[in-house]
Symmetry: C2
Subunit: 212 residues, 2 copies
DNA sequence: AGATGTGAAATTCTTCACAGCG
DNA sequence: CGCTGTGAAGAATTTCACATCT
């Protein structure tokens, strides 16, 4: 089964909606309902569910609990796996707060920072270690994902260390494209780029309306 | 000139690289050099520059200062325009710190929060207003972009208010797809989705290597 | 009637490949 | 030559449209 990044993103979004609906007691859902809850089309939803082998009934739609279980199977990591967060500045704290509040699916196992004032603290229920202990920690409890929330200059060196410890995928918030070996995945979240894009479309749309 | 979102994202990334190189005194650059600095291909770079009407010379490549000026023309907002930030929790503070540190191109004009303990403070050089004053502030100094960094429940209501005040584009960090009228742009940054995607590819790649 | 599952078309985006310049 | 500019090919992704089921 080969799933594109786009499909995975939508599955994750579907699951969030479906969990809420399941919590509200809803048992079944049609593709057009699931699509309407987000920015998607019914055909897209059906295609994605086809990709993960879920099948619905024309009369009753898709069974929400079964659908959730199947998405869990596809997305969730093996038990014990999780992420390490590097960098406990404002952004790192925001990420911890966010994941603790919303996210049981993929635990943040530990946080690391180079600032001695932060290490030792427990922030949002997550222990903050000195970054020197990175290798030691990962030997003892391996993580498959590294979340990079350090300043620009520190991103590449710490990524190299994580790759060396076997981390296979990165979520990178530093505004610099990480160099990693083949077979290591990087998801870049570039906030400055996203803001400039948003600003661009704020005008582009205005101009479009004026001219047209 | 019709530019896709992908092209805009790359232009923003190019500019960041080019500014650094210009600061280091570099005057000219070839498409393969600019591509190598990020994850892109030379053909992609040339195509993007073609789209914005920049032209280089086979012998000397592209002139960096002229290129930067042209990207500025395309991306930068009219003077006086900017963004408002709604929500000054951990994430909002991280965004302010980030934009102040990195970002002269698109100013954050003001921040808003509903917590009286935060309003009145100046955080990262940006005044934090009570969210009740939103309409009043925007009447006096209109902004074209709204950055939504509030909890899930508050995102849609505050977006509606901003749309009503004429905000044309949103950068949304809340884990809920915003409903906006036609002609209003939304860029979603969904951190939970991105983390799940990263986690998925951490396994997917491992499994791929094992099986193959 | 109104939904699903899915080939096939359409669209969007990226890469190829090469003529032509300096 | 090596690089640019770009038509054309190719890949990836989305949407259409319809046979089929209930």
């Amino acid at each position: 089964m080969r799933l594109s990044g786009r499909t995975i993103e939508r599955l994750s979004a579907y699951r969030r909606t479906l969990r809420r609906l399941q919590g509200e007691g809803k048992q079944r859902i049609f593709s057009h309902e699931l699509a309407a809850a987000q920015h998607f089309t019914p055909a897209q939803v059906r295609r994605d569910l086809m990709h993960i082998g879920v099948t619905g009934s024309p009369a009753r739609g898709y069974e929400i609990p079964a659908l959730n279980e199947r998405i869990d199977e596809v997305l969730d990591p093996p038990p014990g796996d999780g992420a390490v967060l590097i960098g406990v500045g404002h952004l790192g704290k925001a990420l911890l707060a966010y994941f603790v509040r919303h996210h049981a699916h993929f635990p943040v196992l530990a946080a690391f920072d180079s600032d001695p004032a932060k290490t030792g603290q427990v922030i949002q229920g997550c222990r903050c270690h000195p970054v020197d202990e990175l290798e030691q920690f990962l030997k003892h409890s391996p993580a498959s994902v590294g979340i990079i929330a350090v300043p620009e200059e520190a991103a590449q060196p710490v990524t190299d260390r994580l790759v060396h410890c076997g981390v296979r995928a990165f979520l990178n918030f530093a505004p610099v494209p990480l160099r990693v070996p083949d077979g290591v995945f990087v998801e870049e979240i570039d906030i400055a780029v996203s803001l400039e894009k948003t600003a661009y479309f704020a005008h582009a749309m205005r101009q479009h309306r004026e001219t047209h």
